[in-house]
């Protein structure tokens, strides 16, 4: 059964190779090839999953050794895959949600002439992500890690004719590089500490190393996770990454890329468990990010950016949970999976809305769309209920557990983290309700023009040609797009319950990550109650602000916090001031030093020699007799020296 593991990666990789190398001949069938191979990978994943279920919990780790990659003395890197419960979960999420997004993209990208290439990149993305989660050592993981970075760069900048998309891709790539530095340093530290970077030996002997070293490794791993998962302080790329096509956003946010950081932390659980200081940093990063993302999400009028803020916030929850140690690992992954469902659903819904609204992203120009696109409305609404943690839906189960675990941290930290998580839940309810209300309810603000065109459906092609200024004609998306949304909505509704009833997910994942029940100062019921209160409060405030009153088509100036949040809490300005300006000043001072000191020394030396030569040149006047005088004088001096030496 182990032999199937490589096929998981091989299928999408083959797709990427065929689609990217195949050329124009495949333009007509390329998208179906991509979708097919992605689905094939999912089917293989299901087969493997079935195989794993048929085994005892202790024997659910499959190892496939392909070949030795770098056989150098003690530096042994193998191409070996490890399929255990954690990897299996990710494989199913990645291939499952990924395949749905492929299917959706068939419709969404139907009019894009570079669709074949797009599917090639999507397959590459899947292959890299699968390599990341299946690798049995950190070096191979690093290959997948970089592959994800590359694929995300290609996809975010897919519409590279737009300067904003090209810039966003570059930004994502660069910010990710900062995290990659962390990962590479962590791998080097692991190698010097343990003499290997295979998961088995490293994680088994993690406790044997000194805590200082482990803390350093853990912090470097955290830096890597921050880069990939868009955690503070490396969060800035995520919002701009919305420049990519919407399916890409769904893929990045739900199935691949941002989940890699959480995977890395949970996979390296043994290292983090032995470094409590690092764990504390992880929780702080998670808590800060969940609030940061939530606040940013409240202020954005761009539907995709609001969802991006939400993703940041939800990943913050996961990182927070992962930082809590064995209490939270399982719930981090569970939230990751449920989030994968509803966030993919939300993004696909947003894409569907945009598809029907001439690619308009400003929510202030939406409104009242529920009657025009009922399927989108229902699926998006179910995703919405799931993410805010409506009782019975998947977000309720996973997020509630995380908040509970945060309180279980104990002491002041526990209260602060738990409080932050609760506050985050309230804000989540607020901004998601806001998105919901602004998009599907209220007056139809897209009918801003007084002259209404009477023929609504037939003018569709003409409207496309008229560009952005034409009045949109909202319509439901084709089936190829709605079916994935429906599937994801079903997952959002029942996923949480399915995982939580009888602690199925806990038992499934426990052998890998370990689990311990924290002793929370609050009972589970209290936490749930508090969460419900926060939820209702958030929804109520949002309804008061956006449901009762009409939403202005032009954004009001807003409070100081709103304006700050619109600018992503000044993250780019901070980066600009600290990094760009600092870099500029450093460069300028270096240029100054180069010009004055280095060039001064060099030019001064040259000028000194030049001047000296100019004077010495006069001695070389070309007259043989002058030279003879020098010679004769020199001879006289030699004679004098000889006589003096004799006299002495």
């Amino acid at each position: 059964m182990e032999k199937l593991i490589a096929l998981l990666i091989a299928a999408p990789l083959l797709g990427a190779a065929v689609l990217l190398v195949g050329g124009r001949r495949l333009d007509r069938v390329g998208h179906w090839i991509g979708t097919l191979l992605s689905t094939a990978s999912f089917v293989i994943g299901l087969v493997l999953f079935a195989g794993l279920l048929g085994r005892n919990a202790e024997h659910r780790t499959l190892i496939q050794h392909l070949w030795t990659w770098v056989p150098v003395e003690s530096f042994q890197a193998d191409v070996t895959f490890r399929l255990d419960q954690l990897s299996m979960t990710f494989v199913l999420l990645i291939t499952g949600v990924g395949s749905l997004i492929h299917l959706y993209s068939v419709g969404y990208m139907a009019h894009d002439e570079r669709r074949r290439r797009f599917f090639g990149y999507l397959n590459l993305f899947l292959a890299a992500m699968l390599l990341l989660v299946l690798a049995d050592n950190y070096l191979l993981l690093y290959v997948g890690w970089e592959g994800v970075g590359l694929a995300s760069y290609l996809l975010i900048g897919f519409w590279q004719h737009k300067p904003s998309a090209a810039t966003a891709a570059k930004k994502a790539f660069l910010v990710n590089r900062v995290g990659d530095v962390g990962l590479s340093i962590a791998i080097m530290l692991l190698f010097t500490t343990f003499g290997t970077f295979a998961f088995g030996p490293v994680l088994d002997h993690a406790g044997s190393a000194s805590e200082g070293k482990l803390t350093a490794i853990a912090l470097m791993l955290l830096l890597a996770a921050c880069g990939k998962s868009a955690q503070v302080p490396l969060q800035s790329w995520l919002g701009d990454a919305m420049e990519g096509p919407t399916p890409v956003s769904a893929l990045i946010h739900a199935a691949t890329m941002v989940t890699a950081g959480v995977y890395l932390i949970v996979r390296s659980a043994a290292v983090f468990n032995a470094a409590p200081d690092a764990q504390l940093v992880v929780t702080v990063v998670g808590a800060v990010t969940l609030l940061f993302g939530a606040i940013v999400g409240c202020a954005k009028d761009d539907i995709k950016k609001a969802l991006a803020g939400s993703t940041m916030s939800q990943i913050g929850y996961m990182v927070l949970a992962a930082g809590l140690g064995p209490v939270g690992y399982v719930f981090a992954i569970m939230h990751l999976v449920t989030h994968g469902f509803f966030k993919a659903g939300l993004f696909l819904g947003a894409g569907s809305v945009m598809h029907g609204m001439n690619d308009e992203v400003d929510m202030r120009k939406y409104g009242g769309l529920r009657t025009y696109m009922p399927v989108t409305f229902v699926t998006f609404g179910l995703g919405y209920l799931a993410i805010i943690g409506f009782p019975g839906l998947s977000g309720f189960f996973s997020k509630d557990k995380i908040i509970e675990a945060a309180f279980a941290k104990g002491g002041t930290e526990g209260w602060i983290l738990g409080g932050a998580a609760l506050l985050g839940a309230a804000i989540t309810a607020f901004y998601m309700t806001r998105v919901m209300l602004m998009t599907f309810f209220g007056e139809e603000r897209w009918r801003s023009r007084p002259t209404r065109s009477p023929e609504a459906p037939s003018a569709e092609p003409a409207a496309e040609h008229q560009g952005e200024h034409a009045e949109p004609h909202p319509h439901e998306s084709p089936k190829v797009m709605t079916i994935p949304m429906i599937v994801l909505a079903v997952g959002s509704v029942f996923g949480g319950a399915f995982f939580s009833v009888g602690d199925r997910f806990l038992h499934w994942l426990e052998p890998v990550t370990g689990h311990s029940e924290g002793d929370s100062p609050l009972s589970a019921a209290t936490v749930t109650g508090a969460t419900m209160v926060c939820l209702v409060a958030g929804v109520a405030i949002a309804w008061a602000q956006y449901g009762r009153k009409p939403v202005p088509a032009v954004a009001p100036r807003g409070s100081l916090l709103t304006r700050a949040a619109r600018r992503d809490l000044y993250q780019d300005d901070l980066n600009h001031v600290v990094l760009v300006r600092g870099g500029e000043h450093l460069t300028r001072s270096l240029v100054y030093v180069d010009h004055t000191l280095v060039d001064g020394v060099v030019n001064g030396t040259a000028a000194g020699f030049g001047g000296l030569s100019g004077r010495l040149r006069r001695l070389q006047n070309g007259f043989a007799r002058s030279y003879a005088v020098s010679m004769f004088g020199g001879a006289a001096l030699l004679v004098a020296a000889t006589l003096l030496m004799r006299a002495v």
Binding site: G622, F623, A624, R625, V629, F632
Partner: protein, 99 residues
């Protein structure tokens, strides 16, 4: 009289020759001054030969004469070709690398 006086004479002649080389511009005269210096040396060698009571000094002087003869042949040839190209026998006129 002490035969050392011959050496003083040789030194005097040598110095006069050397100064002549430095002062005169006519290449032929410069050459003659060089010959004068060589002769002064020869005189010194001959006196050394007398001083030491062997003939080695005279042998050196003899070789000096032979070498001087060779030198004169080449030197005068150089002067002649120099005169041909520059129409002048002044050593100062040959102060440039090319004409």
């Amino acid at each position: 009289m002490n035969p050392v006086n011959y050496l003083y004479l040789a030194a005097l002649l040598f110095t006069i020759g050397a100064t002549g080389v430095l002062i005169r511009r006519n290449a032929i005269v410069v050459f003659m001054c060089v010959e004068l210096m060589l002769n002064a040396c020869n005189l010194a060698f001959v006196v050394f030969s007398r001083m030491h009571g062997n003939l080695d000094g005279q042998i050196i002087a003899f070789f000096t004469m032979v070498v001087a003869a060779a030198e004169v042949v080449v030197g005068l040839a150089i002067i002649v070709s120099l005169f041909r190209t520059r129409h002048s026998a002044s050593v100062d006129d040959a102060s440039l690398m090319k004409l």
